[in-house]
């Protein structure tokens, strides 16, 4: 039965990503590596199931669509994390302002 070298495949996938985002590669390299590492086991299983014939081509393509949706869910979670960080930072700045104003009032009164 044909096999697949998942590590080699991951390197090729990373190169493909790099070629599409050449100018921003440095900014996204770590995230993309994590993105692929998180999928490694699933991609390996998916490839094995297709090669062994356990998954038909139609079913395999349907599974790739599922992977896109899982990736979308992860992007949504990253957006939540960004918002949480922005919210925390903005509120910390407001707290400082509030304390400064409170201290100023004490000196005026």
């Amino acid at each position: 039965m044909a096999t697949i070298n998942i590590d080699e495949l991951m390197t090729d996938m990373l190169s493909a990503i790099k070629s599409t985002v050449s100018n921003h590669w440095k900014e996204i390299k770590d995230s993309m590596q994590q993105f692929l590492i998180a999928r490694k086991a699933r991609f390996e299983l998916l490839a094995e199931l297709r090669i062994s014939g356990e998954l038909s081509q139609e079913h395999f393509e349907s599974r790739l669509e599922d992977e896109k949706r899982i990736a979308e869910a992860e992007m949504q979670a990253l957006e939540v994390i960004s918002k949480a960080m922005a919210q925390k930072a903005a509120n910390a700045a407001i707290d400082i302002f509030q304390k400064a104003v409170g201290a100023a009032i004490k000196t005026v009164l």
Binding site: R42, L55, I70, Q76, V80, I81, Q87, V108
Partner: protein, 157 residues
């Protein structure tokens, strides 16, 4: 005398304006918090954990069944579990839908629910599942529940 009292009034007015300004600022900013996300909900996080465990157990039990008796993996023998889990996902969807500023988490729940329904339909159509497909479904669901959990837990700060 007139000048002195006028000055006092002016000072009072200025002092009052300044105090009022600071007071308004304090009142304004004490209630003014930046909200980009809904409040953390411990009950929802608990429900995510319980549903994730239920899904994981469902697939692990299917994997435990003797492959020689694949009929035990028939859709009909699993339909009740499918419905119970779908009901939990529907509940999570509704609870998240009514929370303001929650479109990202809602989308994660929606994707999870859609894929669960898809995998249920595939099982119903195929009538049985191979070990490979069960493991693939299990891993996909694990990833989605992990994502959902992160999106809720980060709100706790």
């Amino acid at each position: 005398m007139i000048n002195s009292s006028t000055n006092r009034i002016i000072l009072f007015k200025h002092g009052f304006s300044l105090n009022a300004f600071f007071l308004i600022c304090v009142l304004f900013f004490s209630h003014c918090r930046v909200h980009l996300l809904p409040e953390f909900d411990a009950a929802i996080l608990e429900q995510i954990d319980q549903t994730a465990k239920r899904v994981d157990k469902f697939y692990l039990e299917l994997l435990e069944l003797d492959p020689a008796n694949l009929h035990k993996r028939s859709y009909s023998s699993c339909s009740e579990s499918y419905i119970t889990i779908q009901s939990e996902l529907n509940s999570l969807y509704i609870k998240n839908k009514i929370r303001p500023l929650n479109k990202n988490t809602l989308r994660i729940v929606e994707i999870t629910r859609d894929l669960w329904i898809k995998y249920k339909s595939e099982h119903k159509q195929a009538q049985t599942l191979t070990n490979g497909v069960i493991e693939l479904n299990r891993q996909s669901m694990e990833e989605l529940f992990y994502t959902m959990r992160i999106a809720e837990k980060i709100k706790k700060q």
